[in-house]
Symmetry: C4
Subunit: 368 residues, 4 copies
Amino acid sequence: MAAFLAGSPLLAAPQEQLLNVFDFDAAAKAKLPKTAYEYVSGGAWDEWTLRRNRTMFERIIFQPRFFRQVDKLDLSLTLFGQKMSMPILVAPTGTHALVHPDGELATVRGAGAAGASMVVSTSSSFPLEKISAEARTPLWFQLYTGPDAEGTKERVIRAVETGCKAICVTVDAPYQAPREKDARNGLVRVFREDSGGSRQRRYSEEAPGSPSGLPMRFQATLNWSFLDQLCGYAKVPVLVKGILTKEDALLALQHGAAGGVVSNHGGRYLDGAPSTIEVLPGIVDAVQGRAPVLIDSGFRRGTDILKALAIGAKAVLVGRPPLWGLGAQGQDGVRRVLEILQTELAWAMGLSGRSTLAELDRSLVRLE
Amino acid sequence: MAAFLAGSPLLAAPQEQLLNVFDFDAAAKAKLPKTAYEYVSGGAWDEWTLRRNRTMFERIIFQPRFFRQVDKLDLSLTLFGQKMSMPILVAPTGTHALVHPDGELATVRGAGAAGASMVVSTSSSFPLEKISAEARTPLWFQLYTGPDAEGTKERVIRAVETGCKAICVTVDAPYQAPREKDARNGLVRVFREDSGGSRQRRYSEEAPGSPSGLPMRFQATLNWSFLDQLCGYAKVPVLVKGILTKEDALLALQHGAAGGVVSNHGGRYLDGAPSTIEVLPGIVDAVQGRAPVLIDSGFRRGTDILKALAIGAKAVLVGRPPLWGLGAQGQDGVRRVLEILQTELAWAMGLSGRSTLAELDRSLVRLE
Amino acid sequence: MAAFLAGSPLLAAPQEQLLNVFDFDAAAKAKLPKTAYEYVSGGAWDEWTLRRNRTMFERIIFQPRFFRQVDKLDLSLTLFGQKMSMPILVAPTGTHALVHPDGELATVRGAGAAGASMVVSTSSSFPLEKISAEARTPLWFQLYTGPDAEGTKERVIRAVETGCKAICVTVDAPYQAPREKDARNGLVRVFREDSGGSRQRRYSEEAPGSPSGLPMRFQATLNWSFLDQLCGYAKVPVLVKGILTKEDALLALQHGAAGGVVSNHGGRYLDGAPSTIEVLPGIVDAVQGRAPVLIDSGFRRGTDILKALAIGAKAVLVGRPPLWGLGAQGQDGVRRVLEILQTELAWAMGLSGRSTLAELDRSLVRLE
Amino acid sequence: MAAFLAGSPLLAAPQEQLLNVFDFDAAAKAKLPKTAYEYVSGGAWDEWTLRRNRTMFERIIFQPRFFRQVDKLDLSLTLFGQKMSMPILVAPTGTHALVHPDGELATVRGAGAAGASMVVSTSSSFPLEKISAEARTPLWFQLYTGPDAEGTKERVIRAVETGCKAICVTVDAPYQAPREKDARNGLVRVFREDSGGSRQRRYSEEAPGSPSGLPMRFQATLNWSFLDQLCGYAKVPVLVKGILTKEDALLALQHGAAGGVVSNHGGRYLDGAPSTIEVLPGIVDAVQGRAPVLIDSGFRRGTDILKALAIGAKAVLVGRPPLWGLGAQGQDGVRRVLEILQTELAWAMGLSGRSTLAELDRSLVRLE
């Protein structure tokens, strides 16, 4: 009996051994230059929020029910009138060319192969039109902006004309991100010298801790009146990404937002901010179903996603997982990561006695 | 083998050095092929529930009482009319031939030598009749089933005719188990190629994460009406194994169950499910003594068992411990593991001032 | 100035480098045979209670007060009419000859040099009369007993005639201790072969986990009526050692005890029992000052002692620390360990704004 | 693209790699003799309070708000009529010559270059007048004292005449500090032999644990009437440094203090004292704005400072960080450390939607 266990030529090939998102993380780390890997994976300052994004999932415990005939699992949903095969989207992240030469072109092909929608970042390595040309699923557009109101409007109109079905405006980045790994890797300087295009402009020549004693501004001038304007000229739903309090959630709705993304930017901006999963219940309760609440930051398992959906999120955005897929295996890796999360979500639903997203509610979880 | 002990003729013989269940775990790990050991010992996904099954015992603290004349310790009980010498049973686990060539035949001999009852799994490596022929203590039968109602009924009737005193129907496995160690070890493939019989059928050729994007069904079609049927034709008490909520406990009683086993399948199915010891108080309170509540998942010490009995469980099932005993020392190891747990339970009872199972109640524990 | 920092011949000699109890623990570990060190330092089963005895001190936080003129620190007290220079006693522990050839003779000399009282164990390596002959401070006697009522009475009367000022009857040892390190070290066998006297009789030839399936009895027959008898013929105060609940504390008083020692036997008997410091507040509150409450188990720092005194204990017994002192440096080590604890206690009192034991109350601590 | 990531001659020089206070800690550790580094960085006894000073910051979670137009960040404040560019001061610490030959002269130059005020310690390595001559920002004076009332008065008057704008009287050091690292390093002895001046007098020849069994007195005779006297003759505001309870905070105000510093002396005196950040809310609430509450002990990040300000502290003192800067890079290191903290504070304010200190209140934090 021991013989067949010792070693078999029929064992799965190495690539198939990447069974979960953590495997893709490790594979990307092994393959990418340190600077690129740490740019993707690092967090702000002491990375406390980055870690808390993971640990707080452990305070949510399933209450599975059985004998409920769950042989048909259905993960589909309609969001802002758009049919989706699963409540998982590719979150907006910048500069995919850092991890793969085809950048967002590969990412969007992988997402399309998995049937997932993608939110394209303002800081993409490729023009939106090129990315859109490769898309097989609807795109959304993530907006970074500043005091140039006209330029912003043009950018949004261009995104909508390119076919984007929603605008995600990021609110949690008034200043640059305090990521020390990037500074140690010299990423600021590298960007300044090696990129010519406008896409990397957000990396200033003035380093943090400069004689002025002040951090570098990014979107610091924005206030809620900007959202009024944006919702006025955008022809598609506008979501506010970066919500961490119920107060801001309600303000976003008052100023015209069609929905919100509970996010701490993957732990990449304000260290000491809460994990998103811990503030989700309060925000969902405050919004009272008037608009869809989405969420991101720290999702690595289908069970994580199921916890958020049970609490009341309508969909989950994943940022680093597809980037690790991209870094490890290109567009196929992006597809695999998304399929893994989809399978894990379905699996966890089945194992907890729920067949459809409509059956997910707070009775599925106990908050510790 | 004596050599590694550095050679004192006066030291206890190696076998006697296995003093507790953890020692048998380590011995089995050292002796078994990795694939077999990890199949037995591993858990679902990130193994969070597997770990929590251990850590939550630490939140239950004894309140021992003294000077109560505890020189006579009595662990005997009557369960479903059956006299037992201790409130410890061998839990149903599958495919014992993976860890020992004699499989369940050795296990049942060891259990009998210790005076413990055994719950035989549907997925046993040997036919129930052969296992029964070796039994010196009453057997129970664990039932896995699917849409084939007639086949199920025949299986149950055969078990009862073979002498099984109770049926344990598992409810927490609507889909296959997401155990990544098994996948990494190629266990799916191994089963497909090396076993001919129907017993391994539950391992499908279709791997998780297949193009369909859906996990593999197992008992997904079952609902509570199946329990009505089962209790109708079974001539023995039917227990529902896998209860984690008071709602399901009450439903099980409504649909005819004679008892329940609070279980998360040893942390092998839904990762993120609670430890059983943390949900036991609520379930015991809900059942209000109308039927015996049993428990399994994570029990490794007599003190663990004492905690469950004090909270209100009538008996405890142990799964991995006898398998580690089997892997380390065959049927003698099974016997030793069960005797160790029995001795530890008696010892802890004596040291906490309780002589009989009837004296065990919540005053013995503080829940932190 | 930098020069003297590099290395100076005037640095303290190694022996003086033993600054605290942990240093003596390490020194004893380095010097003693593994069997002896582990006998002294080990705990029951998984040693959970042993660890909890340490960690629970961290849940008690000082609330120091300042500007209270604390230039005169006074640690003296009167206990059962006996003047003591500090609220620290040597706890009863057995078989000191395991760690030093002079055994309890050296211990009592060291205790006397430090001005501390000692509680002599029934299981001492030397006869009580010999130990008493070396004592410079009052002794107490710790009583282990069994069904032989006459022998017990004789032992107690002999102790009182020898000059013992109090009897401490241990209640938490109805069965032998489940200490696996001792079993692994073959300590059972060692005792059987190397000792001739009756003092080691409590180590039976029958190992735990023997065919009987039951642990070995020790004081299993005792009940509260024994305390009535004992208090009847003892001419000195009787303390009950091993109290962990307020119920037993009150029963002890009802049956004649003059005081109690909150103890879990240093984590050496029932693993899973609470730390003593966590149950102390409830027991002190229940006793309401009717009798002195003492405490032991896990005290290693003057700050630990101060926490117990602030909660309401009248004195603290230390078991392993003097044994580590004995093992490391003989009677001088015993003295040093006790002086260190005395100094640390005085120091912590001064730093928290309290000059005398009478000023210690719950306002000094916050229980987390 | 991969090429520029592999290694670039344009990467930042090593010195610039010291990005945060922890980097300066490590650099100082690498550069300084062990004795000097451990004197600066160590804590009392088991260093529990030292660690808790860090960990308790993790129980305070930001509630950032967005879209609030935070392009102008202003950290300035007025404290006791004194304009300050930031709410960060150099805490009083002794004997800077241990870490740099220029001692406090370098420290004060660095503080001035950063625009921060400094509190000069009684135990400085250089006379106050020399330090003052190098100052570019207002100084405060920290007072240690004893029974010599006249000498104390002279010292205070001299400090005020030298230009100090406030007196910080330390209340938490009635006895010497129980720091075992210093004892192990022979620091007591070193001081006795190598320093001639009065500045090191507080290190006595009598070591802790001496035959007297008592710790060495320091400011043990002081009581609140001393504060009455001090406030009577001091011509500048007197702050009480070392407050850990609301009771002492109120007593300090009653006896004339103009403010208080919540401090546990950096975890260097009473081990087991609470972290300052955990007692700050209660003290701020008790004081009800009648006087400024400052705080120190454990602050290493701008986010730590922001948490204290949000709870209600008016300013934060940092002790070890400038000493690590001093040890690593002399006066430039002091400047850098202070600028880093200033930048981090501003950055965290901007990222949490607050522009000025006046906007900081408890709505910014959730206390876990």
